[in-house]
């Protein structure tokens, strides 16, 4: 049972490049989330989705985009990468209980 799978685990980008962080879950969860984790700042919600075709902004959406074409997949796209986007990104899913999340292993992104 894979749970929540994120790829890649590590990536280095140059300023201005774009990339997509992939996230897929095999638990048939309707709710999916992208968080970024910065030292001493906890986790900040970037985007979330309550089901296929439905997405909404979280606390820090600027510079990111998402899509949800299927229940399983929730990719996060970074357009025009900036050093401020250097962070660890976590994808999570939920079966609907507010707050109870299942996390992927994270993707460490460095923008130079």
């Amino acid at each position: 049972n894979a749970g929540v799978t994120q790829t890649p685990k590590f990536r280095i980008l140059k300023i201005g490049q774009s990339m997509t962080l992939q996230c897929t879950q095999d638990m048939n969860h309707n709710y999916m989330y992208w968080y970024r984790q910065d030292p001493g700042m906890g986790l900040k919600l970037i985007y979330y989705s309550v089901g296929a075709g439905i997405t909404d902004k979280g606390e820090v959406p600027n510079g990111y985009n998402v899509s949800r074409s299927t229940t399983e997949d929730f990719p996060l796209r970074l357009e025009l990468a900036a050093p401020s986007q250097t962070s660890v990104y976590f994808c999570a899913s939920s079966y609907g209980v507010p707050g109870e999340l299942f996390f992927g292993e994270g993707s460490r992104l460095t923008v130079l």
């Binding site: 709710y31 989330y33 968080y35 001493g40 700042m41 906890g42 986790l43 919600l45 979330y48 309550v50 909404d56 979280g58 976590f90 999570a92 209980v97 507010p98 707050g99 109870e100 999340l101 996390f103 992927g104 292993e105 994270g106």
Partner: protein, 113 residues
């Protein structure tokens, strides 16, 4: 705005010492409360959760937490820590009927062997 405050950012303890990590939230409605743990190099895992009922909840690895509604608090405790408890601990709140989870800034615990 809804927020979660964790009182300590860094805690250093010796093995067998008792642990209490503070967490307060600012939301007056019905909430679900959680503690997540992140071991070095790993993803976040659920440690324990509170939805309703007995305000003292027990989680994995000997951890427990007490919900005090009047204080908007959900403190994490463990009577005797082990070196393997070295990790970062996050308090989190999910609003009943909502979709978002709000996390505290985290507390880094280091347990000396």
């Amino acid at each position: 705005a809804q927020s979660v405050s964790q009182h300590n950012h860094h805690v250093i303890l010796s093995e067998a010492a008792s642990l209490e990590l503070g967490c307060n939230y600012s939301y007056g409605g019905t909430v679900n409360l959680f503690w997540y743990v992140q071991y070095p190099g790993q993803h976040l895992q659920l440690l324990l959760k509170y939805f309703s009922g007995d305000p003292l909840v027990k989680g994995i690895k000997g951890f427990e937490a007490e919900f005090i509604k009047s204080k908007f608090s959900f403190n994490l405790r463990k009577p005797s820590v082990q070196w393997s408890d070295t990790a970062e601990y996050f308090c989190a709140v999910g609003r009943s009927g909502g979709f978002k989870t709000i996390f505290g800034a985290g507390t880094r615990l280091f347990v000396k062997a």
